[in-house]
């Protein structure tokens, strides 16, 4: 009950809130900040900063949290539609949680290097001359070791030039994806076709029920997670590179398999109905053919063609079920025979 005691020790009015009782314009924000970002120096060397950089996966800028020592993390927002906070003695209508998520800043650099350094080697500070935030991102937060994985590096004197290398980038992304896949596997995160279902029904129970997600499912999910930080076309290239079948394809295959099983069960019935259809079709074809020939005949002034009687068609289309019904009905009175027109 340590919680209780801390709470009861706090109800005394807090001076800050008393100074401005209505805090409508000043929304409070709840953040989960990684402890590694909170290792701040006392001196006024710098503060944590929220900055906007281009997010390739979104195709627009997004917020990132930066540390003066060069760390960078993504700022993610967890929001449920109906949530709010009580903070000590205050209501906070902003029910979101902002979390800092680590990421490899090299992923953010891929977009810029692909765009600008595809043909010729360029130094980092001249990649995006017009965009100061990009320059800041590339020179301050992207580790040079990481850049080596996605580009050819040429050093001349004090200057370093980078040229985008597609082959290395793909290989590097593949390695990254495998790392993510390993974590997904280790954490037994459900993925694949029945992910939504199993998350809801299995994870709520404490038991770890056997996980039937396959390796490909893990790989696909990992690829999608890495792909969130890539341009769309690059994401597709990565999917292709890793030989991941498309989800729709996989779905279709599974469906096909299911259908096969079904048809195997009721093979006889299926075959029969097919036959009937064929017959009906061929008969119709004959009809139209006859009509055509009839038209020609009538044009030539011959006798009008005898219309094909529909009766034989009907006989053909009697299914086994109908036949059985007819058999059962034999000898019984027709229901209309009970009523007579007076």
């Amino acid at each position: 009950m340590s919680k209780k005691s801390t709470r009861s020790s706090q109800p005394k009015p807090d001076p800050e809130a008393a100074a401005k009782p209505t805090t409508v314009s000043a929304l409070k924000k709840i953040l989960f900040v990684s402890k590694s970002l909170l290792e701040l120096e006392d001196a006024s060397s710098g503060r944590l900063c929220l900055e906007r950089f281009h997010h390739p996966g979104k195709g627009q800028s997004a917020l990132f949290i930066t540390h003066p020592n060069g760390q960078i993390m993504e700022l993610l927002e967890y929001a449920e539609p109906r949530r709010s906070w009580l903070i000590n003695n205050e209501v906070c209508s902003n029910g979101k949680i902002y979390m800092t998520m680590p990421l490899d800043p090299t992923l953010l650099a891929v977009h810029h290097l692909r765009k600008h350094c595809d043909q010729k080697a360029i130094s980092l500070d001249s990649i995006a001359v017009e965009d100061s935030s990009t320059t800041r991102l590339l020179t301050k937060f992207v580790p040079s070791q990481g850049l080596k994985c996605i580009a050819d590096v040429k050093v001349s004197g004090d200057l370093t030039f980078y040229k985008y290398n597609a082959e290395r980038t793909m290989a590097w992304l593949a390695l990254k994806t495998r790392q993510v896949q390993a974590v997904l596997k280790a954490k037994q995160i459900h993925c694949g076709q029945n992910a939504a279902q199993s998350q809801n029904f299995v994870r709520s129970e404490k038991l770890q029920v056997e996980n039937n997600s396959s390796d490909v499912d893990y790989l696909r999910m990992a690829c999608d997670i890495v792909g969130r930080y890539l341009d769309i076309d690059l994401h597709e290239m990565l999917t292709h590179y890793l030989d991941i079948p498309k989800e729709i394809q996989a779905l279709a295959e599974e469906k096909n398999a299911a259908q096969k099983r079904k048809s195997q069960q009721g093979q006889a019935g299926g075959a029969q109905s097919k036959k009937i259809k064929l017959n009906a079709e061929s008969e119709q074809d004959q009809n139209t053919e006859l009509k055509k020939s009839g038209l020609i005949d009538s044009d030539s002034g011959g006798s009008p063609p005898t219309p094909v009687a529909p009766t034989p068609l009907k006989e053909h289309s009697m299914t086994a079920k109908e036949k059985a019904l007819a058999k059962g009905a034999r000898g019984s009175k027709s229901i209309t025979s009970f009523f007579k027109v007076k």
């Binding site: 919680k3 989960f32 900063c49 929220l50 205050e90």
Partner: protein
């Protein structure tokens, strides 16, 4: 545009511990409320639902709650903006109100479990660790390129 989180290590260390409730309701409005008297007073531990499950109610709606920790490796901070500038591009500052390491997670009408969106979202922290920058060795990269080339040959 950037937003400065205006605090240093000293201020962080000195900042007060806050007690928080994560409520399953949308509240239109901010400001003071008599949380201690009207809410905390009615928090009870109810072993019927399992150990550590708390009950309370908000406007007559039953709540089931549980003490929750801020995910490991993280610290909970409450930040506040003193004044929001009218122009979007202006520099903004967020000041530190306090910090917390645990809070009470409330659900409406269901026992907090791993099926809650909040808990599932936290799985992302583990995945993100894997995405984090770690130096990849030159040999590994070369090996991967080599491997891919070979598999390509096999296919063709």
């Amino acid at each position: 545009m950037s937003i400065t989180l205006d605090f240093d290590a000293k201020q962080l260390a000195k900042s007060k511990q806050l007690s928080l409730h994560y409520l399953p309701a949308k509240i239109q409005g901010d400001g003071e409320a008599n949380v201690e008297k009207c809410f905390n007073n009615y928090t009870r531990e109810n072993p019927d639902y399992g150990s550590g499950i708390l009950t309370n109610s908000l406007r007559g709606y039953p709540l089931l709650g549980q003490q929750a920790n801020v995910p490991s490796g993280y610290k909970g901070l409450v930040l506040q903006e003193t004044e929001k500038p009218l122009i979007d591009t202006a520099e903004r500052q967020l000041r530190l109100t306090g910090q917390f390491d645990e809070f009470i997670y409330w659900n409406y009408d269901k026992v907090p479990s791993n099926a809650d969106g909040y808990r599932q979202a936290l799985l992302m922290t583990d995945v993100a660790e894997a995405l984090m920058y770690q130096p990849i060795k030159q040999e590994d990269l070369d090996a991967e390129i080599q491997r891919h080339k070979e598999s390509k040959k096999e296919n063709s």
